[in-house]
Subunit: 467 residues, 2 copies
């Protein structure tokens, strides 16, 4: 019996509820939903359900629950850990939230934005900006990523240093549980200690505990003044001293503090044709601060002058215009693309306690040099929040999983995390088991069993599927 | 059989594990732990366990779990909802965390502080300040409240507007589960998306899901400049326009925006002998901003000048010194004490969406005037985050529960919360059931059942105890 025939009743039920536009079953229609954008995690859906509202999501989940069929939620499909693609069995239904894309309300005074899960992040950012406010989640995929996925993965990005992860921006949430129950917690409140804050369970659990259908997000005032600087620093320890001085001088106006290795800028020069305006150095820091008060540029100039004097920086430039700031950011933003053009690489998204960054970089570099000679690290990331994208360019002779283990073992030595912002998805499920304490894993399974006892929500993501 | 005799085995076991200093059973020794500081929630413990480390907490929980005896965790005992006092059965063990009070580490560069649950908030604040950093939780009880309770209740306070609730400051957590299992998540990471963020379950769940034994908290840079202003405003709508203008002018340097009613300042004048420097007005705003950049005072002066011109403020003063700022804050800080001296009152700790504050105040005032004539509202609170302490002075003819329902029904009409920061404890258990949707309550019970199936952790707090 074919997989379609085995689930004919379910598919008929879904089509009658969702209409023809709401259910895709033709092989050609399914293809875009079957694999991630990097084509690293290919799968095969039974069907793609495209509900238009929360009631329809509830109906899909209830029907799949009754049929014992797994559900794989999918938003903008921009994830890096294979968290939104079905397995190869052809027995899982992909639940695409893309049709639920309304922005319901922007409140510039209460500083909130309410939108549906399928709303694209950039669209939400623009809606906030039109009211003079800022939705402070900013990341490379913002033109495609959808709010549901941003919330389900607790997305990070460029401005975590100042504004925190997505979790801290979610004021209200609506979710649908495995059996189709809708739980409506769409409250636009900044303080709410009335009972368990159950929405925290769904933020960052990658669709394995429930489906996010709508949210109320916190907005912030927009900075009137921005200062962007690029600095050459001799080593990561100097970058760390610069960060400490910046905390003293600029306080929490610092909104980005990125560290970039020499080889990473060399890749950008070679493959994207962009050159740093301050020439070559072993390490480069890209820093940005923003404030509603004047005096920001002067404070950044003072900071830089003192860093040059101390020798913590050897050269530096402050952007004179928004366009110049854009050029500085372009260096950082083209690293991933340049890496892709340079050849095959193993990506890591790790974090360590901030003061441990120099020692971690030294330890990881040494481990790779001895255990995987010929690999080339491409090191860049959000130093201000301890998050380093420690990617490794490899040749055909290198085993990606071995590279993974080498880097993650270095992370573990410094009390770090094997996924700072990208999540676990299907990609890091085994590495998670290797690195988290058994009591933590047992607690995670207890939570999963309580909310999704049949294991139907995004099976095999974050946690190993139980047979 | 007496309650002691019924549990003789358990008590012997606890004493052998904790030593004589670690277990209190004499009636006189138990008294301070039996009721809250306001003596509104009297109870009677079987014994008080005072473990000195996490292993001992684990042993106490394991023993009580085996004996089927309830545990009531207690920190500084400063709560306002009866969340830390035992019931009157004499059958519950109070678990006092006060001996576990070490500050393990302050890291000024990584901006983290690690401490045990029994560490007093003020002590932790001072330790951060000694390193030039700020632990941004500030509340009236900070001289007694302990970090474990601060975390377990997701405490709010004065600076939520800028720094958020306690939840956003908890980077790492160690908890002990109902059966004594220790779960160690003491990671000093700002970004960590590796698996479920299980610590969120324990923050704000008031000791009903597990016992917090240690934490790593996030610190922030200290502001170099502070500006504190007191303003007379004609009505709450004008205060709201002032808040909006402040968001534009001052951005997120605003760290407090308090609204105080005329009658509240009158109570302070009468019972605490403190007078406002700007004379009487229907409503008063106390505002504070802080920044590392200069230019803050000028920005506040501009803001005030424009507000006076628009008529959104009718008078105002900016503190010229830290001492003057202290005097302005004293007006706010003496309201609760003045209220206590004025007679009997019913306290509320509610929040509504910020733009709804004027309408909520009007609706609540009208409802009280018609349904409970003779009551006098004492209205003050953190307007900047939508949290109003809408207290009501009552006479002997008024029924406190009826007053509760009148105020909470007004809150519900505006999509608000019946507990913004104080939590549910035992005080608001029934009101929670009345105000939260059934799907939310069912989800809460599902979480409770998964983590504490026997219902032994802080029974009857937050959720009704199941028989």
């Amino acid at each position: 019996m074919s997989r379609i025939a085995a689930h004919a009743d379910l598919l008929a039920q879904l089509e009658s509820r969702l209409g023809r536009a709401g259910l895709l079953t033709d092989e050609a229609d399914l293809a875009p939903y079957a694999t991630d954008w990097r084509r690293l995690f290919p799968g095969r859906p039974l069907a793609v359900a495209r509900p238009a509202d929360t009631a329809a999501v509830s109906a899909v989940l209830a029907a799949c629950h009754a049929a014992g069929v797994g559900i794989v939620p999918q938003g903008g499909h921009t994830g890096l850990a294979g968290g939104a693609t079905p397995d190869a069995s052809g027995g899982q239904v992909v639940l695409s939230l893309g049709r639920m894309n309304a922005i319901r309300r922007v409140d510039p005074l209460g500083l909130t934005l309410e939108a549906e899960a399928g709303c694209i992040l950039k669209v939400a950012q623009d809606a906030a900006e039109a009211q003079g406010r800022l939705l402070p989640v900013s990341l490379a995929a913002e033109g495609s990523a959808m709010l549901g996925g941003i919330i389900a993965t607790n997305a990070g990005g460029i401005n975590v240093l100042r504004y925190g992860m997505t979790r801290g921006l979610v004021l209200g949430l609506e979710v649908v549980l495995a059996d189709g129950t809708v739980v409506d917690g769409l409250r636009a409140l900044r303080k709410d200690n009335a009972g368990y804050d159950w929405k925290q369970l769904f933020i960052g659990s990658e669709g394995t505990l429930g489906i996010v259908t709508a949210a109320i997000l916190r907005l912030v005032p927009r900075a009137r003044h921005t200062a962007t600087a690029l600095l050459a620093v001799p080593d990561p320890a100097a970058a760390l001293r610069l960060l400490e001085a910046a905390q003293d001088e600029l306080g929490d106006t610092i909104q980005a503090f990125e560290l970039i290795a020499r080889d990473s800028l060399a890749l950008v020069a070679e493959h994207a044709g962009l050159a740093s305006p301050i020439g070559e150095s072993d390490w480069t820091v890209l820093m940005e601060a923003g404030s509603s008060l004047p005096g920001l540029r002067e404070a950044v100039e003072t900071l830089l002058g003192e860093a040059l004097e101390r020798g913590d920086a050897t050269d530096g430039v402050i952007a004179e215009s928004g366009q110049q700031a854009g050029s500085l950011w372009a260096l950082r933003e083209h690293i991933t693309e340049a890496e892709a053009r340079a050849g095959k690489s193993v990506k890591h998204d790790v974090s360590v306690p901030i003061p441990a960054i120099p020692d971690f970089l030294a330890a990881a570099g040494k481990a790779l040099a001895t255990q995987a000679p010929g690999t080339r690290p491409n090191i860049f990331g959000h130093m201000g929040d301890g998050n380093i994208h420690y990617n490794v360019l490899i040749g055909p002779e290198h085993d990606p999983e071995a590279i993974n283990r080498i880097v993650h073992d270095a992370v573990a030595r410094f009390g770090g995390s094997i996924s700072a912002e990208h999540g676990i998805g299907q990609y890091r499920v085994d590495e998670l088991v290797r690195h988290r304490r058994p009591a933590e894993m047992a607690l995670a399974h207890r939570i999963k069993d309580a909310l999704d006892p049949q294991g139907l929500l995004n099976p095999g993501k974050v946690l190993r599927a139980r047979v």
